[in-house]
């Protein structure tokens, strides 16, 4: 048991250090669930409304891809679980993996863990403490979700199962992140591996739910949804998930016992003794520092796009078999169901790509706080050139990642529908979303230049756009609030006609914000 000496003191240290993050994550998640419950109640006041919605949703693969499996849709609880389910679960997974890597591999990489371990602290105490805190957060989220929904008069058993599914999913991803933290020496890579698992989990369950549901069993997200909240609950999938989480923790423990502190399982190899031609200036350096992340994001978004694209055939068949729906589309003169689906897909992908854009732009702050900026600025590199180097990666890089997403979607659609014309069409459509990403990048740059201490707050703008984009119609947010999100200003191509004016305006706003940030940085102290 000496392996765990000091755990309690470390738990308290993490609680102290991360108190704002803990409160923010749990409050945001709980708020999201309660808001959803409130608006679902408002949207479907009668059983007839529920029945109608259930029939519509059950027949729409597009909505299943984004929301979740068809179960209990004719009940209020079932609707809450459907509308919020997959999105909420992804957010819980994200919370768990970020908090876990932050308190394990990030601490180790920074060298702080060495200091801690030199005191009277057992070998496994730091990771156990991190797990306990993340576990606590997940239990809190689960409890608040369950209590909140019970407060909205939803059935008790279903609410408890729904809350518990959040907790169990969070614990599984804490386990995933902990294993990833043993494999690699680099905190960013550990986060990337766990994030990829999360993306894969979402994709597997989307594919499974559209099909016969078998594939969903192999996804942690799909697994907890098999507990069927509000639709004939069963506990054993949750127990299975709990066992999986426990198994991952044991694996991480075994891996940890076989490596040295600071090292990963994948040892670092010697590199070139001299710099190559590319590494010859600030731009070469920015490219070198960010190319790994750029490739990983492009691959991930490409695969996600392909996963979304793979459903195209199902949607098309559904429309073909449904004369009523065809008539309705013809009558309203609206866009095809498929094109609306593509537009939603591209919107989702662009929101994800904004994550890359922000990460790449906030490298500016990362380099500064790590004291690596100072020696670079002590050479004849102007502040403007240095900023431009990382901003090029952010602005051009996010465009490239978007293109990868559009290409992935287009290629897969072409493959399943035999319509090769969709490749250039979706590729071009995806690029229309770039100006919205740039606006968020611009906000990050403005904050960096004028208020560097709160530069990370730029992530809050992305969270806002995500909620507005994914849950906006459901939450019935006021129009002016929805319109604040630059993503809502982009014409919904390919479902709508491309209008250039909003794209030009958004690009101009992004350029203005960036300029303000650059000007601010050139006049402030570094460090």
């Amino acid at each position: 048991m000496t392996d765990l000496t000091g755990t309690w003191a470390l738990v308290r240290a993490i609680l102290r250090r991360d108190r704002f993050r803990i409160v923010l994550w749990t409050a945001a998640l709980a708020g999201l669930v309660v808001l959803t419950a409130a608006s679902v109640k408002g949207l479907f006041p009668t059983q007839a409304d529920l029945d109608e919605a259930a029939a519509q949703e059950a027949g729409s693969p597009a909505s299943i891809v984004f929301n979740g499996p068809v179960q209990g849709l004719d009940t209020l609880g079932g609707q809450v679980a459907f509308q919020l389910g997959s999105f909420g679960l992804v957010v819980v997974g994200l919370m768990s993996l970020l908090m876990t890597t932050r308190n394990t591999r990030a601490e180790e990489e920074s060298g702080r863990l060495e200091l801690v371990r030199a005191t009277v602290v057992g070998r496994h105490a730091p990771s156990t403490a991190a797990l306990l805190v993340v576990g606590l957060m997940n239990v809190l989220v689960g409890a608040v979700v369950a209590l909140g929904l019970i407060g909205y008069d939803l059935p008790t058993t279903g609410s408890v199962v729904f809350g518990a599914s959040f907790t169990v999913l969070g614990l599984m991803f804490a386990g995933v992140a902990l294993v990833a933290a043993q494999i690699t020496e680099n905190n960013r890579v550990a986060g990337g591996i766990s994030g990829a698992v999360l993306g894969l989990a979402f994709t597997l369950r989307a594919a499974g739910d559209v099909g016969d549901g078998t594939l969903s069993w192999f996804s942690p997200i799909g697994l907890v949804q098999k507990a069927r909240p509000y639709a004939g609950e069963r506990w054993w999938p949750l127990l299975l998930g709990l066992a999986l989480a426990g198994g991952l923790v044991v694996v991480a423990g075994v891996l940890a016992a076989h490596r040295d502190i600071g090292a990963g399982l994948v040892p670092s190899r010697p590199g070139p003794p001299e710099a190559d031609r590319l590494l010859s200036g600030p731009f070469g350096l920015a490219l070198r520092l960010q190319r790994g992340s750029l490739l990983a994001w492009a691959t991930g978004v490409f695969l996600l796009g392909a996963a979304y694209g793979s459903v195209a055939n199902d949607i098309e068949e559904y429309v073909r078999d449904n004369q009523q729906l065809q008539d309705w589309i013809a009558r309203t003169g609206g866009a095809s169901l498929l094109d609306s689906y593509y537009a939603t897909t591209l919107l989702t992908l662009s929101l994800i790509v904004a994550g890359f854009g922000l990460q790449a732009a906030l490298r500016l702050r990362g380099e500064e706080t790590a004291d690596r900026l100072e020696p670079v600025l002590a050479t004849p590199v102007s502040r403007w050139r240095w900023m431009a180097s990382h901003l090029t990666m952010s602005v051009a890089g996010s465009m490239a990642v978007l293109a990868a997403g559009g290409l992935g979607t287009g290629l897969m659609v072409a493959l399943v529908t035999d319509d090769i014309g969709q490749v250039p069409r979706l590729l071009a459509a995806s690029l229309a979303y770039a100006p919205a990403v740039w606006v968020l990048v611009g906000i990050a740059v403005t904050l960096y230049g004028l208020a560097p201490r709160i530069a990370l707050a730029a992530w809050a703008t992305l969270a806002f756009c995500f909620v507005v984009g994914m849950l906006g119609p459901l939450l019935d947010l006021p129009a002016w609030l929805v319109d604040v999100s630059p993503f809502q200003r982009i014409p919904e191509v390919p479902a709508a006609d491309l209008r250039l004016a909003p794209l030009v305006v958004l690009t101009a706003i992004a350029a203005g914000l960036t300029w303000a940030g650059v000007a601010g940085f050139r006049h402030r102290d570094v460090g």
Binding site: G271, P273, A378, G527
Partner: protein, 320 residues
């Protein structure tokens, strides 16, 4: 407040920089002549690094004047940086890049990469350039930064505690390198804690404390400000030492005596000792270390007294 001489590499006068409530630089003066190796001494938090950051144009002073190589460090940063090389006090490198890549990168950023010179230094400092920066020890990270700067033919080197973490062998190589730099007529600003190093290398020294320059001059000049330690054995019992001007803390044991004497009062003391009849005499010239400790020791003691006095009379306000 003196007017900068024309050939000064660095001329700073009345420099002030505050960070919130902290006054990091408080009317600091510093002058470094072209071609000299200048020691920049001071306890932790004295403002050495802040001064260097002003010189590099990384931060802007609130008041005062700083002239670097004849230019304005903030306005002319890019042009001036072509003419200098810098080793930061806290060396942080990109974990994924190798030491060799980082050295080359800095050479190319400055635009003065000289491969032969660089390879020779890598060899001299016994650095493995193929290792990723993540895996370097503190000393090896320091070597990367040193090689990157020393490989440059820049006319000014700004080194912020460059040998922290180096072993004695590497320290000796570093000293050789700085002597070569001086022989080439280049200028070095060497911030350091290692007094032996400053004594061995520097032509002139500035000592700062709490953001203010307290001493500046050649080592010989500074020695005049301090005391020599004398151990003497006399024929007659050594009496009356304590009454002599400039003698501090005499300690007698039979015919042996040990005491400090203000260096400019040595002559009178020696005359007195000769009258007593000298059997043996050992005198230690003051080391920079003693100078340093005495200076700060005295100031600290004064401050403690002032603080106690202030505590006794509340409302007296903070002293300077």
């Amino acid at each position: 407040m003196g007017v900068a001489t024309v050939d000064a590499a660095i001329a700073i006068s009345g420099l002030v920089k505050t960070f919130g409530p902290t006054r990091a630089l408080d009317q600091l003066d510093l002058e470094v002549g072209t071609g000299e190796v200048h020691g920049f001494l001071g306890p932790n938090g004295a403002g050495k690094t802040t001064t260097i950051r002003v010189l590099l144009g990384l931060i802007r002073p609130d008041a005062g004047r700083a002239v670097l190589l004849g230019g304005d460090p903030w306005r002319d940063a890019v042009a001036l940086h072509r003419r200098l090389a810098y080793v930061p006090g806290d060396v942080n490198l990109w974990p994924k890049l190798t030491g060799g890549e980082i050295i080359d990168l800095f050479g190319r950023l400055r635009g003065d990469l000289d491969r032969a010179r660089r390879d020779k230094l890598v060899e001299r400092f016994e650095l493995d350039p193929t290792k990723k920066a993540r895996t370097y020890s503190k000393g090896n990270r320091q070597k990367v930064a040193l090689v990157a700067a020393l490989a440059s033919p820049a006319e000014l080197l700004i080194l912020d505690e460059p040998t922290s973490g180096l072993d004695p062998l590497m320290e000796a190589i570093f000293r050789d390198c700085i002597r070569e730099v001086r022989a080439e007529g280049r200028t070095v600003l060497l911030s350091s804690h290692i007094l032996a190093e400053v004594e061995a290398l520097c032509d002139r020294v500035s000592i700062i404390r709490a953001g203010r320059t307290v001493e500046s001059g050649t080592l010989a000049e500074l020695r005049h400000l301090t005391r020599t330690n004398i151990t003497v054995e006399t024929v007659k019992e050594p009496v009356g030492l304590a009454e002599l001007p400039g003698v501090h803390g005499p300690h007698t044991d039979g015919n042996r005596a040990q005491f400090d004497v203000d260096t400019d009062q040595i002559e009178g003391v020696l005359r007195h000792l000769t009258e007593l009849g000298v059997r043996s005499l050992v005198s230690h010239p003051p080391t920079l270390e003693e100078l340093f400790l005495r200076h700060y020791g005295d100031v600290l003691a004064e401050e403690r007294e002032a603080a106690t006095a202030a505590a006794r009379s509340p409302g007296a306000g903070a002293g300077g």
